[in-house]
Symmetry: C2
Subunit: 345 residues, 2 copies
């Protein structure tokens, strides 16, 4: 899922995303859109799909991660979390119930429960306490959500989030408790918070046998291109990540041959595309030399074209994975990705 | 002509420009592209059209205006101008001959001669001296250009530039001298340098009867939407201006009802398009409320969509003008534009 924090994937139009790249679902941010333009505003304008002219699905995270990473001041109680807007310092409160309201105002297709995402590293004791609160919050959110949508004809889904920092026992305890809710899908949160990469995968492994296989499993905030099949190998169906778009803007392009740093002098007169094997508009139309020129000149079109390419690369990898699964060659595919990584050092 | 200073119209892809907006010619900047990536680089990569993947025509200005407005240090001699790069302070020289070489390396369809663009205001004495030098430079550029393209099968055009600051007598003397060159077209430069608007039009008026009517006449660096028909009424065929793209980025949108300042609170929940009468992608797909949200959030997509709309507005105005001329209703059209302006105060 491409990340559209502020109801926009940076630099790309909804037509670029839906028609050109074939994006079927994107992630928007509950916290950011709650602060600006505000969920009531969006509700009055017919919801997020209509507000941003997006024809396909939208998943909104609950805002928990942003509250913990962006807001200046925050206070967690059993009731919820009080936080200060990073925009103007105003105080706001998110509760498990209020974030369901906010996301229903957006008209999100997939809502996430409010969770606490502890920083890394954290003590086992704190992680346990926090995880238990996240489980209680998930129960409240789930109950409230059921009551709110009872009379509704619109279909949504609400995903609880497995937490437990980097402790497999807590992860398993959390997953076992959340499965009781019989939710439509499950997310694995609290990853990509600074831990070593193998640890993230280990945390996904820890709950693989507990989370229902017939329901979508979503690893939040991952990962690098070579990691995508690793997550899928551990039973993950959905991922979101700012890496393709953020790295694009910073001059790092993902290709079938590895990473390309566009500012390098060797590309000054390189008339080839970013990736010979890529069919995106950027690769079909522009040279490395032109992209390098735009990057060095600080031109907006660079970010537009680079983001387009990197998202295409991620979508292509997911396509390769799907193809490998369907043709029952996924183990070979995974081995080939691992061996290419080992070769690249 | 949209302005693509660094071989890109800020934020728009070549497909947006050519296919969606129907832009048939754009302006690129000799000075900027000479400094980065360099004209020899562009030549080796097959010229500017190929470098930037642009299928239609390109006009490049000679760099004179930028030398005089951007470079830290400059020294004008009869030979040419020595200037300091605004990027790294390196010294460079432009002569009437070298700027022809540079523009031929780009493969420009329309080249401009090197001219001096004096600041405003300037004494009659200096303006006269400067204009005479510009005329001598035009003669040299023209002669050199003829010798360079003699053996060439490629068709280009080289336009001399009428100068003379805000003195009608100097403008007329300049135009009369340049007409002797029997160039493919003529430009009127030295406008939009800080003079009052009526004075710019007066300077165009001053040479209207001297510049050949059967050849394109190009007013450089103008103008606001309501001024376009005023220039056409004075015999101008071509214009370029950064206003539609720069104003778009700064939050000013041009509509058939006048200017719209997108950040205004009144658009917070305005679900209408920027301009009900506009057929651009932005107006067909997005609301004022969404554009305002993107603008306030500092999102790149705002600039992309706003530029697209403002360029469409300019192209629509030029389309209306062409239609009025063909249907022999231009005087009525001009009156209606003037009366709408008077109403708007």
């Amino acid at each position: 899922m491409p990340v559209g924090t502020q109801a926009t994937v940076k630099g790309l139009s909804q037509r670029d995303l839906a028609d050109d790249l074939g994006v079927s679902i994107l992630l928007a941010n509950t916290y950011h859109l709650y602060l600006r333009p505000g969920h009531e505003s969006i509700r009055r304008m017919g919801g997020l799909h209509r507000f941003m002219s997006w024809p396909n699905a939208i998943l909104t995270d609950s805002g928990g991660f942003q509250v913990f990473s962006l807001s200046g001041l925050r206070k967690i109680t059993e009731q919820g979390v009080v936080f200060q807007s990073h925009l103007n310092g105003d105080l706001h409160t998110f509760t498990p119930e209020s974030t369901v309201d906010v996301q229903l105002a957006y008209g999100s297709d997939i809502l996430m429960v409010l969770d606490e995402c502890p920083e890394y590293p954290v003590s086992h004791e704190y992680a346990r306490e926090s995880m238990h609160r996240t489980v209680r919050w998930a129960g409240r959110a789930h109950k409230y959500y059921k009551s709110r949508i009872e009379a509704s004809l619109t279909r949504h889904a609400l995903f609880p989030i497995v937490q437990g920092s980097m402790f497999p026992d807590l992860r398993r305890e959390c997953a076992a408790a959340l499965v009781e809710l019989e939710a439509e899908g499950y997310a694995i949160g609290g990853l990509s918070v600074g831990e070593p990469r193998p640890l993230s995968l280990e945390m996904v492994d820890a709950t693989e046998d507990l989370l229902p296989r017939q329901k979508p499993r979503y690893a939040m905030g991952v990962g690098m291109p070579a990691e995508l099949p690793e997550y899928v190998a551990r039973g993950v169906d959905m991922m979101d990540c700012v890496l393709p778009s953020r790295n694009a803007r910073n001059g790092y392009l993902f290709t079938s041959e590895g990473r390309l740093i566009i500012k390098h002098a060797r590309y000054k007169e390189d008339e080839g595309p970013v990736d010979e094997k890529c069919q995106c508009y950027t690769c079909r139309s522009y040279s490395r030399a032109y992209l390098r020129h735009l990057f060095l000149a600080g031109e907006m079109l660079y970010a537009v074209l680079a983001t387009r390419h990197n998202l295409r690369r991620y979508l292509d990898i997911m396509g390769e994975i799907r193809h490998a699964i369907i043709s029952e060659t996924f183990p070979e595919y995974l081995r080939s990705v691992r061996s290419a990584c080992a070769d690249a050092g």
